[in-house]
Amino acid sequence: MSEPHIPRQNPIDARPWTFYALATLFGLYLLFLYGPMLVIYTLAFQGPNGGVTFPLVGVSLDWFRDVWRPGQMANIPVSFGRSMALASLVSLLTVVISVAGGLAYRRPFPGAGAVFYIVISSLVMPSLLVGFGIGLGFQFLGLQPDLFTSALGAQLTWTLPFGILAMFAVVNRFNRAWEEAATDLGASPWQRLRYVTLPILMPGILGVALSAFTLSYDEYARTTLTIGARNTLPLEIYALISSATTPMLFALGTLTTAVSFLLIGVTLAIVLHMQRRREWASLA
């Protein structure tokens, strides 16, 4: 045939109109999500005489510098350090406890249902009330609420439910046959855990660690009544908002977002590195 071959698009394979409608909605949603963020990032560079709203009066890094300087109202660097320390501890504890819990739920055991409902209840309980309860308890016991005791505990009631729910999903995808094969080949229970179970669960575990870290790092409602004297970063920010709203807050917001990006980047890099190492090991 000498006619030019015109490939035709069969209507069955074409994208329906709903695709374009939903794609537009999604685009608008992303704009909605990131719009205010862009405002923050822009206003962070506000000039020294500018206020918290537009217009930008000059461009400067003054407010970024302000972040580092401990002011009368708030001490950002110190509270940041506290936040990081607390979040790391919370993340570690959450991972260990959630992994153990997730493994527990692979079989039925007495009280499994009760524990599950306690977990869900801890998740849906209004955060301030949890802090209130713990604060009350500490007061009655005559103890001083503090960063690494009451605040740590309060944050765990928030991160543990998320952690264990995530572990449910991860552990369910785990094939028992792998463990059975390991036993068959002579592995003791500890060896099995260390060389088979944990490595396979590792991506999920890292996910739990990352979310627990973030949840702790951003947490304020549960922490506020249990923190004692040494504030974490979100509480410092809250104090700042109540007293003086300056573009320093936006500089701070920009910096914290950058820290979050860094965290995600580092975690992704670790995961990719682990994957690549496994591929190399199998090629060798």
């Binding site: 999604f26 739920y105 949890v130 209130f132 304020y220």
Partner: protein
């Protein structure tokens, strides 16, 4: 007919003799006389979780249940069993007002996040064909979550204010000649802030449910003559009930328990249940605060129980 094959029988005999001689098997089973029952192992694994949650969640809740019955005056609180605090709550008009206001917000925010969350999740799971692109889109949705909720909330102020970015854009385009007032420090801005913060809580569980739907079911529906809308209503939505229920629980409880967003975004015009509570706590009026807390807990528990009645969340999650 000569039998040229090797004497397999003799070879097998020799191998069995070898195995009998090896102590390998015996070593492995020696000393393994007692093995812990499976359920006990699970029990041990779950004890840290249970212990922490009981001490830090169940006991404190019990504590403020008890305190809610206490007596109090300007100097302190006194152990007692009186219903005064509860009576105050149930006879006060402001209680009803605050609950009504918070419930109203919860309902509106739930409806909007459900619509938005479902459509975004549906788009990501059913319309995006490339797995890589899907992950990128999910990350895009999740990344703002990593910035503190406080900062994300107050970011709306320079955006929606009279001299804010939105008004400037809208006036610059000539759509209005006066800045829109209702955008900030109003019910509108409160809802916007809530939707901004909590839509992801809908997207996650719903996307999870949608991804578990067998695509062959959609084709089977198409084959039986269902239009795309009919497929959605008769197949997809029923099968994503768990995700919808879970997302709804998360969103509604967050709104009911919020104390910052309303204060910041309504300019003090509205109060939330918990913000009213926090005032009492700061005034050290623990019994009424505890009573308020108990009432809120019961209300939230009822809402969650209703949602979980619709869907057996436990079965779906632990499956």
């Amino acid at each position: 007919m000569a039998n040229r094959e090797p004497d397999i029988g003799a070879a097998v005999d020799a191998l069995v003799k070898d195995l009998d001689a090896a102590p390998l098997q015996r070593e492995r089973t020696a000393g393994r006389r007692w093995k812990a029952p499976a359920w006990a192992v699970s029990w041990l694994q779950v004890i840290p979780l249970t212990a922490i949650l009981v001490v830090l969640f169940v006991l404190p809740t019990a504590l403020f249940l008890i305190v809610s019955f206490f007596d109090y005056d300007r100097t302190g609180i006194y152990p007692a069993f009186i219903l005064d605090s509860y009576r105050e709550i149930f006879t006060s008009a402001s209680t009803l007002r605050v609950y009504w206001s918070t419930l109203k917000f919860a309902l509106i925010v739930w409806a909007i996040t459900l619509f938005l969350g479902f459509n975004v999740a549906y788009f990501l799971i059913f319309h995006v064909r490339s797995a890589k692109l899907r992950i990128v889109f999910f990350l895009l949705c999740a990344i703002p979550f990593f910035t503190s909720a406080i900062i994300r909330t107050i970011a709306w102020i320079p955006f929606l204010g009279r001299t804010g970015a939105f008004n400037q854009a809208v006036m610059g385009l000539g759509l209005t000649d006066r800045p829109l007032d209702f955008l900030l420090f109003s019910d509108f801005s409160v809802v916007i802030a809530y939707v901004h913060l909590y839509t992801l809580l809908m997207i996650g569980p719903i996307a999870n449910s949608l991804s578990k739907i067998d695509r062959a079911l959609v084709e089977a529906a198409r084959d039986a003559g269902a239009s795309r809308w009919q497929t959605m209503v008769n197949v997809i939505i029923p099968l994503s009930k768990t995700g919808i229920a879970l997302g709804s629980i998360l969103v509604v409880t967050q709104v009911m328990g919020d104390y910052f967003v309303v204060r910041a975004m309504s300019g003090g015009q509205s109060a939330s249940i918990v913000s009213a509570l926090s005032v009492e706590i700061q005034a050290m009026q623990y019994p009424p605060a505890a009573a308020n807390a108990m009432v809120l807990v019961v209300v939230v528990a009822i809402m969650v129980a209703c949602l979980m009645r619709i869907v057996d969340v436990r079965k779906e999650l632990v499956k």
